[in-house]
Symmetry: D2
Subunit: 389 residues, 4 copies
């Protein structure tokens, strides 16, 4: 284990675009909102020197660096927080773990199952030495979803039967929206599938405490070519705009998943519905402070979905935020995530979701692609332990 008891933990974040900014925001605030081990924002890592320096100053980092490998060698860095694009995750995360650094990596864990397997194996090895790792499926730390998991675990839904999970966005609804790296299969791995279906799959596994055994899936690209950002010409979109799947869980639960980046009018609608024999839950990330709960044990005359405002001190993570009725924002879930990771480190407990959890998602994504290639035929998901496959 790399951290010393006698000094604050040092954090390095790699990346300063959207996710880098969100993570920086979390590191800046987590120690002020929660009681966590002392830590410092040591260094922000980027590719371009001037822009990284500017971002570091802007986001509250002591230093900037363009050499992530050298950062791994620093003694004052204990935590490496990887917010680079997916194709860099495996190389960086494995190197950081090997250097004895705790690693938080943004989702999805990697662009391929092979990379994810290597990462999970590295994480397992590192864990034996007290070096911890976590993948950033941040929505596990939205209080309403954390509450949902509690309610399910407590049996409030009886036996769960089916899940409906979707994630709808519209930033590609415009056929003339430009062709960025996120639409290039070589860089992004996949489109809506890896980017947002990964969240839905992680949520299904998280909320139910279950794993996917079999999938049938489909991908589709509505706009096969788009203009390059400079507008000069059009290029091919090599990833999916939307994806659909049905998942059979080990328990027999059936979960449907559908995601889209062309669902006009839906901005960030991660929606999850869970139906059991005794209760049901509904959630929409566009109203992230709310969880709807149907309780069949109530008298029929007053049964109905209750809109729980998850801002009471009794709700997950809320005790340290604001008094009841004062809404959290999207970014606050990252602060909750940083809290949990710091506490995991302090107590030497395995963070969740682990790299193994991230690998499990990756295998489901791969099986959906395989099913799509086979025109929808059900595909069994290999969920053998790392190393046993």
């Amino acid at each position: 284990m790399s951290s010393s008891d006698s000094r604050p933990l040092g954090v390095a974040t790699i990346g300063h675009a959207f996710m880098g900014k969100a993570h920086s925001n979390a590191w800046r605030n987590v120690g002020k909102i929660f009681d966590v081990p002392q830590y410092n924002q040591v260094v922000l890592v980027g590719r371009d020197q001037a822009r990284t320096l500017s971002a570091a100053q802007h986001f509250g980092w002591a230093e900037a660096s363009t050499d992530w490998r050298s950062v791994l060698e620093r003694d004052d860095v204990d935590i490496v927080d990887i917010c680079s694009p997916g194709w860099l995750h495996a190389e960086m995360a494995i190197a950081a773990l090997e250097a004895g650094k705790h690693v938080l990596v943004e989702k999805p864990l990697a662009n391929t199952v092979a990379e994810a397997e290597a990462m999970a194996a590295a994480a397992e090895t590192a864990a034996a030495a007290g070096v911890l790792s976590m993948v950033g499926f941040t929505y596990r730390r939205v209080p309403a979803l954390a509450l949902a998991r509690q309610l399910i675990a407590d049996g409030a839904l009886g036996e769960v039967r089916q899940v409906r999970a979707s994630y709808l966005q519209d930033w590609l609804a415009d056929p003339e929206a430009p062709l960025t790296w996120r639409l290039d299969r070589n860089k992004a791995g996949s489109g809506a599938l890896g980017d947002i279906a990964s969240h839905t799959i992680d949520q299904v596994q998280f909320l139910l405490g279950d794993t996917v055994r079999e999938v049938s899936g489909r991908l589709h690209t509505f706009t096969p070519s788009r203009p390059f950002p400079d507008g000069s010409r059009r290029g091919e979109v090599t990833v999916d705009d939307a994806a659909w799947a049905t998942l059979t869980m080990a328990s027999g639960v059936v979960a449907s998943v559908d995601v889209s980046r062309v669902a006009l009018g839906r901005k960030n609608a991660l929606q999850i519905e869970i139906y059991g024999t005794g209760g049901a839950l509904k959630f929409d990330l566009e109203r992230l402070n709310e969880l709807e709960f149907f309780d069949r044990s109530r008298p029929i005359q007053t049964q109905g979905f209750s809109t729980i405002l998850t801002t009471e001190p009794q709700h997950p993570y809320l005790e340290n935020w604001w008094p009841q009725g004062h809404m959290l924002g999207w970014a606050d879930s990252f602060t909750n995530q940083a809290r949990d990771f710091l506490l995991n480190i302090a107590t030497q407990t395995q963070p969740t979701p682990s790299f193994a959890d991230g690998l499990a998602v990756q295998r489901v994504l791969a099986a959906i692609e395989e099913s799509h290639a086979q025109r929808g035929t059900s595909i069994a998901v290999n969920q053998l332990p790392v190393g046993a496959s």
Copy 2:
């Protein structure tokens, strides 16, 4: 009592405009939806012979008449259902009662307190002879509001403290909407106050089983002149466009009421919120199949307003309609009302709301006008029994 056991009850409805159509619809359907005493749609009464005849044929009446007084003399008429404008209510209702006919009269009971008092006195006299009367505050028969009353009566709200009632429409939002009889004080009595505040006041009294003791109120006319329907010239609007009041109930509950016909975008938003020490309720007529219920006895983690879809067989009036999940419409409340009135007649039980209840509303309306005239000063409401004032 006018009805014979050996033949169906005969119904006569006076008026065939909006309310006459809604009541005809109820009479046509009530015997098919509910188990009620046999009855016939004997005669529809209007002013214009041709139009009344056409309406009678259209709405399912056996005959048409332009002479309401002669209808009162008919032996085959047992129920007189008065849907004429408010300024005719008193004369017609009193005559009908004196002729031994059961009377249902549309709200508001009358245009003045004096008329309402005379009507209530006539109703009391008639009741002694088994002749029954009812005022058509139909929304008491919306299942969600009937359920609300049950929940309150059962103590589900603990001690009620405050009520927020409003009724928002927008059919006068356009400053060029024409000047009809409804905007003429001589004919309509008042504007939004009598037309829609009357509903809110009746609901407050109905839901709480309480009476208004004191009021402070205000009226306002935003558009003081409007074009006549023929567009030739403008005339003065002599009634209120909107009204506001706070009501102190005998129990100490404070109810706020505000109504408007210029609330752009609100079409028929009778909204009621009731807050108690143990629970709360919310209702909106624009979603009339829903009642929201907050139950403080639940664990804090899952407290929230539950949206009850009031379409279960266990909900008021629903057993005879459709299976669960099949929504009722606005007009169906009139059918529920006709059912209750027919059953009251069959069982010789006093219908509610009675003319006395209608008078109580009228006295509150008058007190609001008086308070407005005195620049908002609180006015005690005389709620002495009829004849005791």
Copy 3:
């Protein structure tokens, strides 16, 4: 054509359970709400003499009969309205058409593709002689969905890309709910698939004016055995509790469909979302007077889903109902449907949805079952014209 110009059309309805009651309600009211050709409620047909007679009296029919074949021979019957269970549709409808009667048959058209093909062929033959037919996908007559179709046809959504359609109910959520004929494949044909997925498929085809070309689907039964109604013992459930499918339309649109009878808390949630390049729509049958519309042509600052209350005189079917803001109920769509059918007869225009439309739905249902049998593999849907297959 069977109807004479000189006398009212005679209507016979077969069946007096849930659907028979809803259709009777429509026949009783359609002539009072809308201007339609004269008609009479001639005869109600059922299996049990006493129960049929009672229902006929209750629902407003002049006569009762237990012999549907003899009803087809009556000269005073012009319209045969079939509300019997699905396995009787084909025999009754074909006989009625051959007897020269206009036929309205409840959905789904039949239990099998073969029956539906025979019905569509019979309808085509009859149409040549002026005898008309229609299948009762009543939700086409919900004003909000009729408006949705208009908006799409008018181009308000630009190019449609994807549809999300679901139909969620919970009347089988209780594992101890009894085993009725609806759960017997021999009688019901299928479960949620034929009963409610049929509605979603018809809506997709109706709203887009498009046909399904290919499907991938899955069925599942969560509760494989249930107690018989008498509670004596358990029997096998031979139909699906839930179904999932992705549909590829001829235009390239991708529609996802999922339906369930075990979605606890959802009572009658037919939900449809349609996303185009220029706009989007959302609908939920539990709030059937509302349609949500997102219009990308608005300035970004004020873009958002607008909740249209479809109760304006300008909305489909509304001119003849109530003033703005007065909600329709579920049953009123049946009245709208009866209106359209009567007007189709009067003007000798082909009703929609036709038996051919019903057959198209049936073929999609069959393809979903076939895909399920082949573990999700995409199945092409034969949509050849009747007689060309």
Copy 4:
């Protein structure tokens, strides 16, 4: 003006309870989210040395102090941010302004009109010397409300006619909730009136750019005695639990206001509705990322309230936060407020709301109390300029 161009602005915050924490959070983040002048979190001021020191460390302040007067003498402090209870506002703010410090003071401006007048006079004097002041009606910086003001100013509502503003909470719904300083008139000035009605009144004035001319009001205390926090005995509640008022604006607009701390189930429901001749708006702080807008200029068929998700870069304050669809939280409005105040200082422009705006609110509150004392009679509001009364 106290700040030097050559060094960062120094900030001192007085108070570290709820508001002190929220303000500290804003100061910690504003420079990381927005481009603002350089500043330092110099010192946090509290009463208790140990607790203030702990809070200072926790919330990111360089130093702690228990002597607010000495802080005013420091050259490295340019901004004094007052989050102490209301009865201390006047003394502290006036002293700070006289010391040449820019002052941000939490709402309400003061507990009495006399104090508020003295503060406004001091602010006017200070402004002449370039020393700026602002009162913290933070909700002006909720993006949805800032957008509402823009839309109204741009004429999107036509002529505004009426406003419905309410603020509902339930933290005193429990009759056994303890008696704190907030329920003591000597310390808190008033109850729901000053605490939350002040927000509604400021919003009405802000959104319309108008002032209150006349009020009719009422106060009520539902629970007149409560247990002291130590539970030993009960004491008298000397402030209102709820308040109701109608406000007549200089323009003739009528605004209704009602607020409560016993509205069970409502946690932080600041709700505002504004109705004009051309459009309408609705807002609820419990869904603070949403603004509903009704636009009468649209075709009737598609009119309806649009739910605008105010998270587009084009929305007020959003450009510097997160991409579209990523919700802000309640606390982020404080960051927006700190941004505006810093930019006002940098550009030497008058912040809004000014102390004069805060005084205007105070005068309305006083008039409501006066009206209550006179049983609801309308009271003219003195809105003469400071010094002219």
